[in-house]
Amino acid sequence: MTDTFSATASLLGRAAQGDQRAWNDLVVQHTSLLHAVARSFRLDAADVADVVQTTWLRLLEHLDRIEDPTRLVGWLVTTARRESLRVLRRGGRERPSAEDFVLDRADDADPVDAGMLRDERDRALWEAYRALPDRCRQLLRIAVYEPRAYEEISAVLGMPVGSIGPTRRRCLTQLRALLTGSVVEDEDGGAGEEART
């Protein structure tokens, strides 16, 4: 924790002084997470790129204003969420609740390329993941990068922090159940169809 804190503080400080390498390190460390946040809103590749780029620009203009380096991840995630919602609104597709929106949205932006997964265990895991309820998918999509960042995950999902731990546990239990109970061989490679019992 302290190591992470001082490492992040140092990177932020050096980047604020104009050190490109420190900035590169921040980008490498956190872009996967930002990509995952935007993806969790089912944005397509172009919109995801917009969100990631805008989020980094926001950090760039606030580099010397991040008072608490321990909150950097939270700051980035919150910014990426806001930009994702902004992108959704821009399409004139806004609903009163962002959550309704995510749940209603068709699954067409979710990249499916199970064919890339040659490992049978990975394919089974991917198909089990895709059979999960939306809320679990959104939570796990982010949790894989920051397993303990309940506050940040709650910010993205718009759920109370206290419910993240139990929800995460329930989602993992469901994932395991799908893995053990209802894994089906999928010869046509179409992971779009969910395995059902």
């Binding site: 980047a15 002084q17 104009g18 490109q20 900035w23 590169n24 980008v27 490498v28 872009t31 996967s32 990509h35 995952a36 993806r39 590749a45 995801v48 790129a49 917009d50 990631v52 780029q53 805008t54 980094w56 620009l57 926001r58 760039l60 203009e61 606030h62 580099l63 902004r86 609104r89 821009r90 004139g92 806004e94 009163p96 990249p111 499916v112 390329d113 199970a114 890339m116 997964l117 049978e120 265990r121 990975d122 089974a124 895991l125 991917w126 993941y129 796990l140 999509r141 949790a143 894989v144 990068y145 397993p147 995460r168 546990r169 993992l172 994932l175 395991r176 893995l179 053990t180 894994v183």
Partner: protein, 156 residues
């Protein structure tokens, strides 16, 4: 067939495996990383940020409306006594801009995108630029007292 599911696999191990799966099925495109690294070149140490304080596109009354041709969006930025009002008119894939700066005199104004900058003629603290491509932009201003101001980035 063995080991498709391992009952003893810890939450952390399962999440780590899922992460690897995401990295294969939905990898972060290299251009995203390259683009984010390159953004650093847009930063200058001695410039002052005029923060976004109001954006008509973000106002609750507009949430359910569909934006369209000819819509006018008003965006305000502030730093100290300086206010920048930006009016954006949508025209297909391009935007027409009108900006007005109050609280300071202006020596120079530019519209900046992540790719380029374009100088604009300033007259009485008002300047206009037509046909800017839709996307991210900000205004870069030099005040008559020699201060460099930039606005927050906005996507228009």
């Amino acid at each position: 067939m063995n080991g498709i599911a391992d009952a003893d696999e810890s939450d952390e191990a399962l999440l780590a495996r899922l992460r690897e799966v995401f990295e294969q099925t939905d990898p972060v495109p290299a251009h995203l990383l390259d683009g984010a690294r390159a953004l650093f070149g847009l930063r200058r140490l001695d410039e002052e940020l005029a923060e976004l304080v109001r954006d008509s596109a973000e106002e609750p009354g507009r949430l359910l409306t569909v934006r369209g041709e000819g819509d006018v969006r008003l965006i305000s930025f502030e730093t100290g006594p300086v206010t920048v009002e930006l009016q954006v008119t949508e025209r297909g894939a391009v935007r027409d801009l009108v900006a007005q700066v109050t609280g300071t005199g202006l020596a120079r104004a530019e519209v900046e995108t992540p790719r380029e900058r374009q100088a604009i003629a300033v007259e009485d603290s008002v300047f206009t630029l037509d046909g800017v491509p839709a996307g991210l932009l900000r205004l870069r201003l030099l005040t008559s007292s020699g201060r460099d101001l930039v606005t927050s980035w906005v996507r228009v």
